[in-house]
Amino acid sequence: MAAIELDGVTKRFGDVTALQNVSFTVESGEVFGFLGPNGAGKSTTINILLDFVRPTAGRARIFGMDVNEHSQAIRERTGVLPEGYDVYDRLTGRKHLEFVIDSKDADDDPEEILQRVGLEGGDGDRRAGDYSKGMKQRLVLGMALVDEPDLLVLDEPSTGLDPNGARMMREVVREESERGATVFFSSHILGQVEAVCDRVGILGEGEMIAVDSVEGLRSAADLSATLDVTTAGLTDDAVDAVRSLDGVASVTANDDHLSVAVDDAGKTAVLSALENSGVEVTDFSTEEASLEDLFAAYTGDGHEPGAEVDA
């Protein structure tokens, strides 16, 4: 059964069209990534799913129920980490969780949830108004987890999180998915979506550009990053060593500079390989594959994704 279905959804604010005839389906139990740059209409889509705004045309259903007619029944079974929220400054983290537990008539233990999202050591008893952005994000993720929801809607969940927080977020998404929950995960960062999602929908300027599996996404667009390395004297042996590494797609050597197309995990291996070959690395930088490249890959205009533009 479909967890989420959008059927020809259009939303106009005055004469601005935020969404244009958007249709897609999220199957029950899958982790669905909703990818698009800021302003593409991701939050508007989520706001329609939560009945914060009403579509100008088209229909949206969750668990087979109309999102407007049965909004409350849907929200009984949904955990949400909205975008652009704020917490209640004067209430503690624990009070927030208790409020959600009361609201959902659930019997979760606030302490357990606080630990799960990494708010430990008395953080839960501090006023949420004094929390950092990352701590607020952890708290609201915790609020979304109350009552084991059938659907988790996470709008840009990594906002404000440090690398540890982002890892915790990915772990929670994986655990919830294993439990059987459907996860709808929006982001403007390719790497995050790629890391946790089964399928991905790509939204650009209010229109659905593509829905694809993550494998399909990987083959459609070269998702590798480009690692630029400056050395103090490059040798052919070193270049060969790098070329033979797993995850390295292509290597371009130019005097003492090296451009390596490599996936995220392989970057440190490249640097180690160079040093093991006796080459001193003086500087390096990486360039992530961009959403623009991805759009170009699906819409077929512009240059080929991942192609070198250096002369």
Binding site: F13, N47, L50, D51, F52, V53, R54, N68, E69, S71, Q72, A73, R75, E76, T78, V80, P82, G84, Y85, D86, V87, Y88, R90, L91, K95, F99, V100, D102, S103, K104, V140, M143, A144
Partner: protein, 308 residues
């Protein structure tokens, strides 16, 4: 919209009301308001006792000073102060959450928008009513050991009506807050209404009465009744005149006193023995209750249809 039917859900609005109240307790507003109401209600009684005003009045007029007299005097101040406080407590009840974004957390949970509006009205009503009750209780404690005669019935009526006035303005303010998208607009709306009630409503009532007489040819009696009814529609005036009659003044005299001074006495003569039902105490109470309910309902309708 079909989600209109969804409406209120059992206990959900109560969860919101409790959160509202808990949130406010932490802000110390409750304590500040309690101190304020204690000083407004109890201080005159304490001063009267200290300066022996009771004895003085009794020797001058032969009239015993009772809590009813105190209530009557205090109600003038209360009719301005209580609405201002209720507006301050409630005008941003919904707009602030909307601007900050916490409304998104609230409505991500299984609360309907009706739950939110009603929960806000109940929670903020508590924030206004509890300090009034505290003020009244302490006033009672101050008055009881003195020579001022304590009239329990009148005192309780005074307390309840003053709370109702506060709650009516909370309803009015939450209604406006539900219907507007920013706190600034909500403030302009609520404060504007209050100023209108306080400064301009009477001339509006007189003007309409005059207009109807001049152009619709209504009789002078009818003109008076219409003007009085329009005056009664003002919640602060409904509160004062209802309290006056509840404290023992004849109802027609209490209504006539909505005109001040000599005019009031003339009107009282005209009303004697022929007070229409729509100027009765029941109507005054209904009007106060309507100010609680109608703005909330209208505000809800706008809020329900709004894109957040």
């Amino acid at each position: 919209m079909s989600s209109d039917i969804e409406g209120l859900t059992d206990g959900r609005w109560l969860v919101i009301a409790r959160k509202e109240f808990a949130d406010t307790i932490r802000s110390k507003v409750l304590w500040i308001l309690s101190v304020l109401f204690v000083s407004v209600f109890a201080l005159p009684a304490a001063l009267a006792q200290y300066f022996d005003i009771g004895q003085f009045i009794q020797s001058q007029t032969g009239q015993q000073v009772t809590t009813n007299l105190l209530a009557q005097q205090t109600s003038r101040l209360a009719s301005a102060l209580v609405p201002i406080i209720a507006i301050a407590v409630a005008y941003a009840a919904i707009t602030r959450e909307r601007e900050k974004g916490s409304l998104k957390l609230l409505l991500s949970l299984p609360h309907t928008r009706a739950d939110v509006v009603v929960g806000k009205v109940v929670g903020r009503s508590g924030v206004v009513a509890v300090p009034i009750a505290v003020g009244m209780l302490i006033t009672m404690a101050v008055v009881l050991p003195t020579q001022i005669a304590f009239k329990a019935g009148g005192f309780v009526t005074f307390a309840l009506l003053t709370m109702l006035l506060g709650v009516a303005f909370v309803g009015l303010s939450v209604g406006v807050s539900a219907a507007t998208s920013t706190s600034r607009r909500s403030m302009v709306g609520t404060v504007g209404l209050f100023v209108y009630f306080y400064l301009f409503w009477n001339s509006f009532a007189r003007g309409v009465g005059q207009l109807l007489k001049d152009h619709a040819g209504i009789a002078t009696d009818t003109q008076l009744h219409v003007t009085l009814f329009l005056k009664l529609l003002n919640p602060t005036q409904a509160y004062q005149t209802l309290l006056t009659s509840a404290l023992g003044t004849e109802t027609y005299v209490a209504r006539a006193r909505m005109f001040s001074g000599l005019m009031g006495q003339i009107v009282a003569q005209q009303l004697k023995g022929s007070l229409p039902f729509y100027l009765g105490d029941g109507m005054a109470l209904a009007i106060l209750l309507a100010w609680l309910v109608v703005p909330v309902a209208l505000g809800y309708v706008v809020f329900q249809a709004a894109d957040l």
